[in-house]
């Protein structure tokens, strides 16, 4: 088992779990799959976007290693016990992923908000 005392890189890992307002809003106002499935009588235990999230995580850890798997998972663990502790999986995984990507500057909150408006308009058209 790797001990952070043995690995200077892990020691330098600074996990920033300060809340991002947009993600807090989604957490508060978004309807989780469990509720939607129950309302509409859908028996699939997983939302249709879950596989996409897993694909994003794999792709980010792959080519340019924009978000290494270990760092993402550590941050997901922290966020699962703090900011997103009351969210079910995989909503928690998705929010944590977005959080990690914003904190690493892969895109910013404004860009995400703007893109979400575009996507919402498109999907609800």
């Amino acid at each position: 088992m790797v001990n952070s005392d043995d690995d200077p890189d892990l020691q330098k890992l600074q996990l920033d779990t300060s809340p991002i307002p947009l993600l807090q809003k989604i957490k508060t106002e978004g309807r989780v799959w469990g509720d939607l499935a129950q309302q509409y009588g859908v028996t699939n235990p997983d939302p249709p976007w879950k596989a996409n999230v897993e694909g994003i995580c794999d792709a980010l850890a792959e080519e340019n290693c924009a978000l290494p798997a270990l760092e993402r998972r550590w941050e997901e663990d922290e966020l699962s016990e703090t900011l997103f502790s009351d969210m079910p999986f995989p909503e928690r995984q998705l929010l944590s992923l977005a959080h990690s990507m914003i904190k690493r500057g892969l895109f910013n909150e404004e860009e995400l908000q703007s893109r979400m408006k575009v996507v919402e308009h498109r999907l609800n058209a």
Partner: protein, 241 residues
Amino acid sequence: MSKDKDHDHGAHKAAPMVEEVSMFEILETAVRELAIEKGLFSADDHRRWVEYVHTLGPLPAARLVAKAWLDPEYKKLAIEDGVKASLEVGVDWINDMPTHFGTPSDYCNLRVMADTPTLKHVVVCTLCSCYPRPILGQSPEWYRTPNYRRRLVRWPRQVLAEFGLILPPEVNVRVVDSNQKTRYIVLPVRPEGTEGWTEDQLAEIVTRDCLIGVAMPKPGTTSNVKLPVRKAVNPVEHGHH
């Protein structure tokens, strides 16, 4: 959806669907599109990963165990060379990955851990939840939680008991910790009452939980435990000691 009242369309009714777009669906799409625009990965990369993940499930690992139960030579191979044994159940650890090439998160080494009547293996990844996806599919949520990962190595019998697996004192428990390069599955002891069974019948009782090691195969049990995810009562900080 058809609403023909004159004919019985019960067998052909469309399955219920969620009729609204959630903020989470919008969020996922937005994150993915931004990532592609920023050049973090291509749409094709993403598609390959999603398609790959959809091909994965626990059946190949179950078949590996069933084959090992029926063929002592194959069991020997599985223990000595899990990667080679995997080829016979259709899993190529070296070449099947979407990249077909080593990556920073590559994993090519499968080890098959054979239980005995006095030795029980159970699998974990204490650091982050590494899992033998190519042969076992996606990991269950509980496997990914710090609650499981941190507690199993410290109190294995207690954690196994939460899954309903109570082991007598004469059975040793060996916890194997996965890592970036090496992944594990458990080859449980073949249970009594399966004499004369076919490979298909045997594979059916080798559930995902059995392959992780938190359950033992039993005739008649073909599903996994439905386990509520529990938060750690005294969470351990990341500054491990």
